[in-house]
């Protein structure tokens, strides 16, 4: 189907850009490595004073941080830079080019920019995850791995849909240049298990800015503590958000074109 071909050509083009790959990759490893060390350091300080945090043990928290960086890296490879460019395109008028092309505007806007060196974050995340699994007392079987993959996938759909919704706001709030920052600001809370937060914050992080499904749920899957109910809930939320975000986007386009209805 043409969508796949589009995806292919965009990825290829993204790989061609940025000629200083190796340098970028190394710098990214350093920065993210330091950021992860800070996160792990905080965990270390906490666990110097206690054995468990809200029922989570040190290794499980390490796994959580691993997932945190996997998702962070994945978002930053394509989704974040492309939607950022899309929002700039609304301000400087380049979005007009996207709209006059005979291909789905959401697809074009979501794939326009690739930062391949952010895969360094994903790699570091998996490294932390691996260390956590080794240190963790519970065995990780194929069932857990499957649940983890499912949780990660539905989490991905949920996060992407949320980003589309945020980006669509640009059609109304043209001058709020850092709308996408809303996600990153709330995302920092995902470094700790969402369960420890007071009710209203937990709810916000699950429903309003859905970082819980992106990070906590997959991490729970790794330590074997995720229920099938939660996974089902994640899948349902993914479908609902995908549908809603698509509708919202189309409404945004109508607004951009000044359609009154």
């Amino acid at each position: 189907m043409n969508t796949l071909r589009l995806l292919g050509v965009f990825l290829r083009i993204g790989l061609l850009g940025e000629t200083q790959y190796r340098a970028n990759f190394v710098i990214q490893l350093f920065e993210t490595g330091l950021s992860m060390a800070t996160a792990l350091g905080a965990v270390w300080v906490v666990f110097s004073q206690t054995e468990t945090l809200g029922g989570w043990r040190s290794a499980e928290l390490t796994a959580l941080i691993g997932v945190y960086f996997i998702v962070l890296g994945a978002i930053n490879v394509v989704v974040a830079p492309s939607l950022q460019k899309f929002m700039e395109g609304i301000v400087n008028g380049n979005f007009d080019y996207t709209l006059t092309k005979p291909a789905d505007a959401q697809l074009l806007a979501s794939l326009s920019e690739v930062r391949i060196w952010r895969l360094a974050d994903v790699g570091l995340g998996f490294a932390a995850l691996g260390i956590a699994i080794v240190r963790q007392s519970a065995e990780v079987g194929w069932g857990d791995a499957a649940k983890f993959s499912l949780a990660l996938f539905t989490g991905g759909v949920v996060v992407y849909s949320f980003w589309i919704m945020l980006a669509t706001l640009a059609f109304w709030f043209i001058r709020v240049e850092n709308i996408l920052q809303i996600f990153w600001a709330m995302y920092t809370a995902a470094r700790w298990p969402v369960g420890i937060y007071p009710g209203w914050l937990k709810w916000t992080l699950t429903v309003i800015v859905p970082v819980a499904f992106a990070v906590t749920v997959p991490a729970e899957a790794v330590s074997g503590r995720v229920s099938n109910g939660t996974l089902l809930g994640a899948a349902v939320l993914a479908v609902l958000l995908a549908a809603f975000s698509r509708w919202f986007w189309k409404t945004g386009i109508k607004r951009y074109a000044g359609a009154s209805s």
């Binding site: 043409n2 008028g93 007009d96 092309k101 005979p102 291909a103 109508k254 074109a257």
Partner: protein, 325 residues
């Protein structure tokens, strides 16, 4: 044969926020938003046949870009109807989008730091061109626009003129039937402007594609457009041949005289635009031209006399500033 483009009573208005300077007004604006309605296009009706080249002329804010955007499907009209190649542009059907193209002056669709050819390839996929078609078009456009050595360079390494040539090529890969060009020569040097104009004219002749061009450069319109539409304050002031425009709106003639230096003050004959040595340029109302010329020839020793229309820019200026109806 059905008309390629039809606009009927097309209108477009916006609501824009309004604010004054100063800290007090700034704080007030936090709580209360004042707005104002802007009628970008009041009522525009016109139609185009396939293969026509039409220039939309007008000062900034006249409504020409807004009209162009309604024709290309970027804007939804507030009132009236628009039909392009049998489609309503604002529906943005893929069938329609495959037949049009948009080029905006000083705005790039090419990707910044990869070779031009790779950006072309992206368009190949988006427009679903076969590899054979694509090869042929690329070769063709490379010839016509002299792109040879540019194709493998990243866009950021090209000069503004080279970039514009590549942008135009990228926009034409899919052989569109209608070209929407919004200020395409903006910022280019004179020789590049000329090359671009002659390319567009040739493209139109070779392919029969219709061209809609907006510009505030008279030279673009003079060189390219047999038909000119003058838009001001969201309305069409004139739609027809450029020569007609001059005849209709120019109420003055320019007299260039070569007289003896001691001929004295010539302001009794008309408005003196310049006077250097013996070369004097006078502005005279059109209807008085014959009479004034006769008087000058009677009263002065004239070595040379030339009667011409004022430069077109001036005519347009006067049209826009409302000094004529």
């Amino acid at each position: 044969m059905p008309r390629a483009i039809t606009l009927e009573n097309l209108a477009k208005s916006y609501v824009v926020p309004v604010r004054e300077a100063g800290v007090r007004a700034g704080v007030v604006s936090l709580f209360k938003r004042k707005t104002r309605k802007v009628e970008a296009v009041k009522e525009v009706s016109l139609s185009l046949e396939a293969g026509e080249i039409v220039g939309f002329l007008g000062p900034n804010g006249a409504g020409k870009t807004t009209t162009l955007k309604m024709l290309s499907g970027l804007l939804h009209p507030s009132a009236g109807s628009v039909t392009v190649l049998g489609h309503e542009p604002w529906r943005r059907e893929n069938e329609f989008l495959r037949q049009i193209t948009l080029v905006m002056g000083q705005r790039n669709q090419l990707i910044w730091d990869i070779p031009v050819l790779d950006s072309f390839d992206r368009n190949r996929v988006i427009y679903r061109l076969s590899r054979a078609e694509y090869r042929e078009r690329v070769d063709d456009l490379t010839d016509l626009l002299e792109l040879g050595h540019l194709l493998n360079k990243p866009v950021r390494n090209l000069s503004l003129g080279e970039r514009m040539k590549c942008e135009v090529a990228a926009a034409l890969l899919h052989h569109p039937r209608i070209l929407f060009l919004d200020e395409p020569t903006l910022g280019l040097d004179v020789s590049m402007q000329r090359r671009l104009r002659s390319f567009i004219a040739r493209y139109n002749k070779n392919t029969g594609a219709s061209v809609l061009l907006t510009s505030h450069y008279m030279a673009d319109v003079e060189a390219l457009c047999p038909r000119v539409v003058v838009i001001h304050h969201g309305e069409i002031l004139f739609d027809g041949k450029l020569a007609e425009l001059i005849k209709r709106f120019s109420a003055q003639k320019t007299l260039v005289l070569e007289v003896d230096e001691d001929s004295g003050d010539l302001s009794r004959f008309g408005e003196v635009v310049s006077s250097e040595g013996g070369r004097v340029t006078l502005r005279v109302p059109k209807r008085d031209t014959a009479e004034v010329t006769a008087r000058i020839l009677r009263e002065l020793t004239v070595h040379d006399l030339n009667v011409a229309d004022p430069p077109i820019e001036e005519i347009i200026d006067q049209v826009f500033s409302g000094r004529m109806s």
